[in-house]
């Protein structure tokens, strides 16, 4: 196994899958000549040609809509949307067509497209390069959503997404693109959609997170180590959710803190909390507490550390829950 950064693992997955299946086609803004603004698609154009690694016009709805047509023509398009906040023009296509088309053909046609995009804050970027839009995607019927936290999962989840017959949105935590480093299996590597990852085991409290917040959760678990045995659960696939893993952990520790970067109201953490309220109420020894971004526009970067969930905020929430 090779050690890779998370973004290199994405690149590896694309190489392997394009080699394996000649109908896989990568498209997006700046993905070809320059290999993507984060270099996630570097080398693909040289290896597979400009017809299979396509620099598109700067038109996100066009990318997503064209991908629908490409599926109908027998391709498996992997669309890169350059940044989280620039993905919204494509939502029209995603909601009205990508997520509906299979159903309205009575299951006769697959739409095996993948949307991948860097997301999330903390990178000292200009405005609108920091959003955590996962809720919009999770809330779109007909679409699956995955978010890796490690290089191995970045490769394995993207591979699963490419092979899946349904549309899958993969959000990649850009904050850890080149800080998360780890062993990545060579060659084909699949992490099935719908399975959470138990990051570390504990007995007193569970911190549930995904994406770049898994690292924050681990930092908080370390900080709490002398006071409590903390379990960390990485959701990995937001839809379909691995309810079993969530409920098992809640049953074991009885205390759950949920961490998400996105604004609080109706965010994905609310869904996790609702599942716990519906199915784990008798296992809980205290309230489910969310640590989230705030219900305000994502701030300029001099203020972003105050906005982003921090180890300190997670420790504070965990302490309140342990003392409840």
């Amino acid at each position: 196994m090779a050690e890779r950064f998370l973004v290199e693992a994405v690149n590896d997955a694309l190489h392997v899958e394009m080699e394996r299946d000649e109908t896989v086609l990568v498209m997006g803004e700046d993905v070809g000549r320059v290999g993507g603004v984060f270099r996630a698609t570097a080398g693909l154009r040289d290896r597979f040609g400009a017809d299979r690694c396509v620099d598109t016009p700067l038109a996100e709805a066009g990318i997503m809509g064209a991908a629908v047509g490409l599926c109908m023509a027998g391709w498996r398009p992997v669309c890169e949307l350059q940044y989280d906040a620039f993905s919204y023009p494509a939502l029209d296509q995603l909601i009205n067509h990508v997520g509906r088309y299979r159903w309205r053909t009575g299951g006769a046609m697959d739409f095996p497209l993948v949307v991948r995009m860097p997301y999330g804050g903390g990178v000292r970027a200009p405005e609108l390069h920091d959003d955590s839009p996962e809720t919009y995607y999770v809330h779109t019927p007909g679409v699956k959503v995955a978010i890796p936290a490690t290089p191995a999962d970045a490769k394995g989840l993207l591979t699963a997404a490419i092979r899946d017959p349904d549309p899958v949105v993969v959000l990649e935590p850009k904050l850890v693109y080149r800080t998360a480093r780890g062993e990545v299996p060579e060659g084909e590597h699949v992490v099935p959609l719908g399975e959470a990852r138990l990051v570390r085991e504990g007995d007193d409290l569970t911190i549930v997170a995904y994406g770049a917040m898994v690292g924050v959760a681990e930092g908080a678990a370390d900080r709490l180590a002398d006071r409590a045995s903390v379990e960390v659960l990485d959701v990995r696939t937001l839809k379909p959710l691995d309810e079993e893993a969530l409920l098992a952990s809640a049953a074991k520790t009885g205390r759950v803190v949920i961490v998400q970067e996105a604004p609080r109201t109706a965010g994905y953490g609310a869904e996790l909390a609702a599942v716990l309220a519906e199915k784990a109420i008798l296992d809980l020894r205290g309230p489910v507490i969310r640590v989230t971004g705030y219900d305000v526009p994502y701030p300029y970067w001099k203020l972003e550390d105050a906005y982003m969930p921090s180890v300190e905020r997670v420790v504070d929430a965990a302490t309140r829950l342990l003392e409840f």
Partner: protein, 342 residues
Amino acid sequence: MIGDGGSVPDGEVDGLGERELLDLYRSLILLRKYDERSLVYHRQGRIGTYAIFWGHEAMQAGAAHALADEDWIFPAYRESAIGLLRGIPVSTVLSWWRGHPAGWWNPADYNVASICVPIGTQVPHAAGFAWGKKLKGEPTVALVFFGDGATSEGSFHEGATFAGVMRAPLVLFCNNNQWAISTPLSAQTAAPTLADKAIGYGMPGVRVDGTDVLAVYEATREAVERARAGDGPTFVEAVTYRAMPHATADDPSPYIDPERVEEAKRNECVGRYEGYLRRLGVLTEAQVDEVKDWALELMREGIQQAEAEPEPDVSLVFEHAYAEPWAALRADLAELRRILGG
């Protein structure tokens, strides 16, 4: 192409023999009967809200006849019955308007995409499809229908941009009936014509009389030939005037110009073509009756079949949304069945 039997002489289209002219007539009548009967079925409460296309038949049939069987059509709701020209059963289309899953079809069975309901969002689908076929080295052409209002949508712009850049074998067919529900073309664009927009996408734009089925056919055929020859997309603007409400839920009296409506009805496309064929001597009274009876009978059978469809099982709420419904969806269905007592 089609004259008036007096001062304006009739023209001819190369390659259209008597048989092809009569085939075109059958398509026009089938679409006309579909539309007229659908309005009746709506009033009888047998189908839901319906988007009327009376007066648009020449654009639909003229364009469809210019395509080869392997070419794909991407319809908007105004072209809901275009699939009849490709063999989709009448009952299927009526079922769609009845809100019944029997209205599903596999686009690959007929080379007709599902009916697009939002405005203009099917344009990038068609562009992507045409580009994708070109990448595979197949000679397939795609044709996408949309209205004048759609040309204001971002989706139209992005789809046309893609088609231009990829030199996709695509015909962008605009049925300009000059109204987007109550909004006239003058409030839709400051462009002198919609065909003018084509230049911005690096493709030819042509304008044609949308009530003249032969003119529509010929303009589309040229566009299809260009596309198949590898010369990229063409924008075809077919001009007509919407003589009917936007849909059964619309009352145009506050906004429409009744004189223009009367003029459009006098000049409507099916009657024009019928007159042309009669002057040409290829259409007899008996043939007119035969074709109209045939179309009417298809509609009678179609509505009977659609109404004979059993109520859809509630499992269809869940089935086909994903290739494999997961545990939570299966649990939802089980709970629903328990509550419904099924």
